[in-house]
Amino acid sequence: MPHTDLSKLIESHRTLVEPAWGDGAGRMQTGLYMVVFDVATGGFFTALGWSRAERIPHACTVFTLESHLCCERTPVVGEPLRFTTQLIDVDAKRVHFLHEMRHATEGWLAATNELVSVNVNTQTRRSAPFPEHLLARFAAIRDAHRALGTPAQAGRAAGLDAGTPGHPHKAPR
């Protein structure tokens, strides 16, 4: 069912932290976050009207070009997670978006994942424009999401500045 409410972010996924995702102490392993965020990416494209089933008749798929993960607070096994997604930018072939992963009941931010995906023709394996009817829709969602503000993690370059995820932290001992 395509997403229609433009006044809020797209809810793209819900899950519990599965036991297999935990380390020895039950903390969700950061090396697996992008696997779970990829499920949210699937939910996001479905909400945009470009699900796997909708892409197949067009001989299209979507590939990820880049992915930036920021880890703010580590959830533990069994905790419920809720993912929302903001469409930041779009052009004829690419979509730039950011997922937030929050504790589903307490609301705190666990991590963000900012991505760029490109539409690809499955026969040529080359990038291809999105169908015309989707572009206006993508642009409308982008404009509506812009009004909701930009997350601090968007457009961030990795590094040791004050904005490093997980901060503010207490000084080293």
């Binding site: 950061t30 990829d38 070009l65 992915s67 961030r156 590094g159 080293p172």
Partner: protein, 162 residues
């Protein structure tokens, strides 16, 4: 022997069976895990996990930026080249190239910031011991002389061409 610096290149792996999608391609979600392993190997090389390991500490990944350049298939042999970009009392910032070990092409880059933290509270940083801190300083000075991947320090945005 020469004193020409080289990236840290000891770490190898392969595209493991459990990392592939239904098409036998390396699933994008698992690249971060492979890059974390490479970062751990680099820190182990510097002695962090031996006598340089502070009590009650663990390494926490703070951020990872992956750029996907070419596809890889199941069982493809991988090697990694690691460059230390920056560090402070408790954090390291590296960029890794992931290469197809037989064909030589760069399949992806992964830029990681990880921090030594208290196992009981990840908001508490724990400082590196002095000899690890010194090793990091030497390594960083050496690596500063090397060619950097162009993906270093990249912020995500859609650049319009033409």
């Amino acid at each position: 022997m020469t004193d020409t610096p080289t990236p840290f290149s000891d770490y190898t792996d392969e595209v493991r069976v459990e990392w592939v999608d239904f098409n036998d391609h390396f699933h994008m979600g698992y690249y971060a895990l492979a890059f974390e392993h490479a970062q751990q190997a680099f820190l182990a090389h510097l002695g962090l996990f031996a006598d340089g390991w502070p009590d009650g500490a663990r390494m926490a990944t703070r951020e990872i930026h992956v750029c996907f350049l070419r596809e890889l298939r199941e069982r493809a042999p991988l090697r990694f080249e690691t460059l230390l970009l920056d560090h402070d009392a408790s954090r390291v910032h590296c960029i890794h190239r992931m290469l197809h070990a037989a064909e030589g092409y760069v399949a992806a880059t992964g830029e990681i910031v990880s921090e030594c933290v208290d196992v009981a509270d990840e908001r508490h940083a724990i400082g590196f011991v002095p000899h690890v801190d010194q090793s990091l300083g030497r390594m960083r000075a050496e690596h500063a002389r090397l060619d950097m991947p162009e993906q270093r320090g990249r912020a995500i945005r859609l650049v319009r061409r033409g």
